[in-house]
Symmetry: C2
Subunit: 365 residues, 2 copies
């Protein structure tokens, strides 16, 4: 078999090996079905059990309350950026508040503007999005249709340590890049959504956890595929769902429950992995320049720069030699980004920390 590398890509991203192995084993024929998950009818009892198990796993891991739907949709977070305001802002007669902490917050607001009036409750652009705001900094409209935020800014490597306090205004969250990295209090959210390709599965399936009363408020005149109401009433089976993606969500959440335990244990593991890298940054006496302010550091995406851009190619080459791939940062931040989602093995992060230490030793002046 082809040797696997350590994949630090921000998404699509590393998946748990046991989940990949099970998918591989059964790819020609699911046990008892005699056909592939890629071929099986979405109306079959076999697939029915798979989508129910995927939902049950998510409900158990996150203790999702009964008054929330769990939907499996297509189109990624990008489509949710438009679909959320399309359903609950258009025709509300209100405006929506957006907290902008980085690239994805900016993308979310751009898409939302096609659907209705938007207000900015905070924007971190003055410091090139290197921190999350405190609650006291938020300029919230008490009559907003909702408040939207991005729990983890993948590109900047900054993360809310706890969700913003917005009182009774519905809180909408794009959790694409830190979904399931720890247990969050779902009851504080109106909508919590995440594309799969970072912490949950392959690209092509998006999980939307939505409070039932918000579904009731959905606009009436929407195309079925863009209506939360239609998707909730049909239990995500209005049309053919992305069956393989849903299946992978089941396998990945199976892995969390069987190999890790629960989301508290997942979080412990994630914090340890991140600490390995932040410790190297902090001990490097400025050789590694972390982009994020300490209090906003992301447990999922660790961003750092080198003192001299000339050193970037040698660093990437040295990492690649050890099988550490996809570490180049986004041009808006520069330097490097190590995405260390749930499925990144501790060994991969330990190896990266080792390479960073040795590179620093050799190149620090």
């Amino acid at each position: 078999m082809e040797k696997r590398v350590y994949n630090f890509s921000p998404g699509p991203a590393v998946l748990p090996l046991p989940a990949l192995q099970e998918a591989q084993r059964d790819l020609l024929a699911l046990p008892g079905a005699g056909m592939s998950i890629l071929e099986i009818s979405h109306r079959s009892s076999t697939f029915g059990k798979i989508i129910e198990a995927a939902e049950a796993n998510l409900r158990k891991l996150l203790s999702i309350p009964e008054d929330y739907h769990v939907l499996f949709l297509q189109g990624g977070a990008q489509l949710q950026f438009a679909m959320a305001p399309m359903n609950i802002l258009r025709n509300s007669g209100k405006t929506a508040d957006y907290i902008i902490c980085g690239t994805w917050g900016n993308t979310a607001i751009k898409q939302a503007k096609t659907q209705g009036p938007i207000r900015v409750a905070w924007d971190g652009k003055e410091t090139n999005y290197n921190r999350m705001p405190s609650n006291s900094e938020l300029d919230l409209n008490p009559d907003a249709a909702y408040v939207h935020f991005t729990s983890n800014e993948t590109i900047q490597g900054i993360q809310f340590q706890t969700e913003p306090a917005v009182g009774i205004i519905p809180l909408l969250c794009d959790a694409s890049s830190d979904f399931l990295h720890k247990k969050v209090p779902v009851e504080k959210y109106g909508i919590l959504y995440a594309c799969a390709q970072k912490n949950l599965g392959p690209a092509g399936v998006t999980v939307v956890i939505i409070r039932k009363d918000l579904v009731e408020r959905s606009c009436e005149d929407l195309p079925s595929m863009l209506s939360y109401r239609v998707m909730a009433e049909s239990k995500s089976l209005y049309n053919t769902p992305p069956c393989f993606g849903v299946y992978m969500v089941k396998l990945v959440t199976d892995w969390i429950m069987s190999e890790v335990g629960d989301l508290d244990k997942m979080y412990e593991r994630n914090k340890k992995k991140a600490q390995l890298l932040y410790d190297v940054i902090d001990a490097s006496e400025g050789f590694y320049d972390g982009h994020a302010e300490r209090a906003s550091r992301s447990v999922m995406n660790v961003t750092f720069r080198l003192p001299d851009p000339e050193l970037e190619k040698p660093f990437l080459a040295e990492a690649a030699e050890r099988g550490l791939m996809e570490l180049k940062g986004h041009r808006s931040v520069g330097g490097f980004r190590a995405s260390i989602y749930n499925a990144m093995p501790v060994e991969g992060v330990e190896l990266l920390a080792e390479v960073m230490k040795s590179f620093c030793k050799k190149n620090r002046k």
Copy 2:
């Protein structure tokens, strides 16, 4: 390994075994990449080659002219039902003509009505959608924004033998259930779209072949994910595409080219398979009651009823015993439906013909 059955499901449907085998072989790590197709960045050169190859295969098989884009989108035909009028009907000041020949034509018009004014150019409901119209029966508006039709009605098992003649009005086609079953003259179409899960790959990716001048006419104020212009300008990489689905489209089209040859050979094979079943129906002296009028018979979905509904369960049981699955018809037509897409092996159809003959012999009064 689990034994594979013959899967006559209307979709998701049978896929070519060599494509499944290649996907299985490489599922933990693509050759040269060291990571799974489920984990690889959509911005990587490895994925770039895959999406380019998928497009090149489609262009070659269908001789797609240079003035057409080939897009890989999400949301299935269902989203195209809304997205097409959203892009080129809204703000056109015109109405669109719909030819309604069955369940999917009706669904298409329902979604289109959320976007603009629609006219019915023909509706086959009086005879429960058992035939396609002739050109002379179409009531076309010479100033329509476009004419929409469904090339093959999956549930009814009826198919256009050639596309309707609409002059210079843009012709839009939902070809979800017969895409690539034969070569069609793409230059006669404005938009030709198909979800993958019948003839092309797994659920979750949709191919949209669109004439470039129609993209230019797209509305300006749409969310990016719903804009043909944005998707065309970004070559389907505005956001993370459904990478695995695109990969499977490549493998399935590779299979057509390497194992079948071209779409003319594919069509010969498809016609032979369908003839095997229609011959049994025609020779059964009315025991099998085909739903479709002869001139509209589908090469992809063969629909038929039994003289007595009491015989349905025994027929399904006998078929299942021989490994022939998913033959139950849709309730709106009754009886049975054998979906015999490109990937259904001739042997599967021969076996079904044999079971049908023997069942008829035993049960004909």
